[in-house]
């Protein structure tokens, strides 16, 4: 492990990965503050992954995702507009604080919360690796098949918040992923007679269509102009008292640690992620902190500390199921998996043996992202917001142009764009009617692995594989994970409804 740790550092601190981090930093700072999510940029990184070493592209993606999360609370606090689903709870207390002229304290507390949360999440990833190595020695093809399949189902059910809808989406995703050559016997399946689909649906156009296009449309549809004069006042106020905010975070150090641990635990569960973690941490803080029930939602700095530390702890923790078991917890992790697969790095046991150095580099990258981004945000965060707050009718076409170029890199043919349009239409419908989109993305990434392991297992064990104790343990664990995740989600939904009823959310 020590040797791998040294090798990881040797690989990471070379020109390629360093340039990748330098390039991703301003992009993450800008995109975290603007609405639209992080997947458009992730698609661009995916598009460039065949041209670069995996050390470069994996570092770029993980750094970008980690740094992006740090900047998301800024519009929540200063403008009352959550940049993503993971920043909604921050609005409840951050925005009232900004309205009282305490924006700097709110931002300082947020930055320190995200820093500590990020470090704890990275530490969790580091500590999980040796235990995971021993666990993986017990697994065979049957277990990997079941892990992948149940991981897909868990993501689908948890992200849908409803069992039937989630299962249907998982099955639909798996069905879509069957298009193209069969990995079993090379037969071309369900390609509608279209030669372009012989290789199946490519990930770049799928992500661009399912996620980027609907989000760009949402930017335009839900556009609300922001008064620039008010913004100037907020930026001036935000530059003051940041260090007071940092001291406030340390004054509530046990809340900080507790919320980070909640984020870590939630992050390890596939499909749940930051959007639930921050609500759970917020709710637990509200009910356990002294006077929390009366003061949370009215400008209590503890609300910011609890939610933001939990969200950032997810970054490191969600790498555990992704890298070790090949079960991505969301869109960003699915793209990470895709980059690894495209680069010839198989997620799973190899990530803890042959590629342990690459896995450890992910830990370093998360830490570096936090350590570099926080000081920049402390000094320059509000000024970055001035650049980033641009009208949706300017931002949206730029996003569309960028992802169009990225999607075209798949096969450099117009069919890539047709696929973007097709999945874009599907993504719009799914977003409009509340159907989860991540399961389709994850199914496209995992389908080949699922099918191959299933075939190997059937030929090796037959139906007796269902009696293997390891397999039964995985099934039982997944049932528990899905049950706990849905309970957590229900609690988070109650918190969201309660907040909306008290009129604190926008």
């Amino acid at each position: 492990m020590l040797e791998a740790a040294i090798q990881a550092a040797e690989h990471l601190f070379t020109l390629g990965p360093i340039l990748a981090m330098v390039l991703m930093l301003p992009i993450a700072l800008f995109s975290g503050i603007t609405p639209g999510g992080n997947l458009p940029i992730a698609v661009v990184i995916l598009g460039f992954s065949p041209y670069f070493d995996p050390w470069v592209t994996v570092t770029a993606l993980v750094f970008y995702l980690a740094a992006n999360d740090i900047t998301e609370p800024v519009p929540s606090i200063l403008l009352g507009i959550p940049g993503s689903r993971s920043a909604q709870a921050t609005v409840l207390d951050g925005y009232p604080m900004a309205q009282k002229g305490l924006a700097g304290i709110a931002l300082g507390a947020s930055y320190m919360g995200t820093l500590v949360g990020g470090m704890i999440g990275a530490l969790a990833l580091l500590l999980a690796l040796p235990a995971s190595r021993e666990l993986l020695k017990l697994f065979g093809s049957a277990e990997f098949f079941m892990l992948s399949l149940l991981g897909l189902i868990a993501v689908a059910v948890v992200s849908a918040g409803a069992f039937a809808k989630g299962m249907l989406t998982a099955a639909f995703g798996l069905a879509i992923a069957m298009i193209g050559f069969s990995p079993i016997d090379g037969v071309v399946r369900a390609n509608f007679g279209i030669e372009y689909l012989w290789d199946g649906v490519a990930l770049g156009p799928v992500v661009a269509g399912l996620f980027a296009i609907p989000e760009a449309i949402d930017l335009v549809v839900g556009d609300r102009p922001i008064a620039r004069e008010r913004l100037d006042v907020l930026i001036n106020e935000a530059s003051r008292d940041i260090y007071r905010g940092i001291r406030e975070a340390f004054r509530h150090k046990w809340l900080l640690v507790r919320s980070s641990l909640i984020g870590t635990f939630v992050g390890m569960m596939p499909g749940v992620g930051g959007s639930t973690a921050h609500w759970i941490a917020y709710v637990q803080a509200r009910h356990t902190e002294k006077g929390g029930v009366d003061t949370f939602g009215k400008g209590d700095v503890r609300g910011i500390i609890s939610s933001d530390s939990a969200v950032n702890a997810v970054d490191g923790a969600e790498l555990i199921p992704t890298v070790v078991f090949g079960i991505p917890g969301g869109g960003g992790m699915a793209i990470l998996l895709a980059i690894l697969v495209l680069s010839g790095v198989q997620p799973g046991p190899a990530m803890l043996t042959t590629h342990l150095d690459l896995t450890l580099s992910l830990v370093y990258t998360v830490v570096i992202a936090n350590v570099i981004t926080i000081p920049i945000m402390i000094y320059a965060g509000p000024y970055i917001l001035r650049l980033a707050v641009m009208p949706a009718n300017i931002l949206a076409p730029i996003v569309i142009g960028v992802v169009t170029l990225a999607a075209y890199q798949t096969t450099y043919s117009m069919e890539d764009l047709l696929l973007v349009l097709a999945f874009g239409a599907l993504g719009v419908f799914m977003k409009r009617y509340g159907w989860p989109r991540p399961p389709i993305l994850i199914a496209v990434v995992l389908s080949e692995i699922v099918e191959k392991y299933f075939w190997i297992s059937m030929n090796t064990y037959g139906f007796e594989m269902l009696y293997r104790p390891q397999l039964l343990s995985i099934i039982a664990l997944m049932i528990v994970v899905v049950f706990v995740s849905m309970r957590l989600q229900a609690k988070a939904s109650e918190a969201e409804v309660e907040a909306a009823e008290t009129g604190k959310t926008e």
Binding site: A171, I184, V221, G424, P436, Q489
Partner: protein
């Protein structure tokens, strides 16, 4: 929510469910002509999905389930002016389709920068300078990175074959 709006809501989701059902049927029928190895997983996907598809159709028909979305999906942010939002929606969708059509006809080098300029100037009200800068940035990326560094082979724009 009044009856007309609810009917529209359900109709939209019925389209989505119909697409899924059609694809399931297509996949299953196609799988009948494949060898067992290739057919197994698609059939499993369809068999797992079909009961839930039927359950979803029944709930839509009975109008018993119209949840807007779950915690992990924000849904579209809708405000107080549905007509304005519908106009915005139509405009951005028309832009996307028009852009892709223009790329097919004229190629990336012409369509993408001009498309950006057009939208930013007329709808984004970005002014001459910003619209031109953004367009030139896209052109610079296309020429500088895609042409000179990655040596991308672009598709032949339709206009070239029409002019020949």
């Amino acid at each position: 929510m009044n009856d007309r709006r609810m009917a529209l809501e359900i109709f939209g989701e019925i389209i989505l469910v119909a697409v899924i059902a059609s694809f399931f049927v297509y996949l299953f029928v196609q799988s009948l002509s494949w060898p067992f190895g290739a057919a197994l997983m698609p059939r499993i996907a369809v068999v797992i999905g079909t009961p839930f598809l039927i359950a979803r159709i029944i709930s839509l028909v009975r109008r018993t389930s119209l949840e807007k979305g779950s915690i992990l999906d924000m849904g579209f942010r809708l405000g107080d002016d549905p007509k304005h939002e519908a106009r915005n929606f139509a405009r951005i969708c028309a832009f996307i389709v028009g852009l892709y059509l223009a790329i097919w006809v004229f190629g990336f080098h012409v369509a993408l920068p001009l498309g950006m300029f057009f939208y930013l100037f007329f709808y984004g009200r970005a002014g001459w300078i910003l619209s031109t800068v953004v367009s030139l940035c896209f052109l610079a990326v296309i020429v500088g990175i895609y042409d000179n560094v990655l040596h991308v082979s672009w598709h032949e724009p339709l206009i070239f074959s029409l002019l020949r």
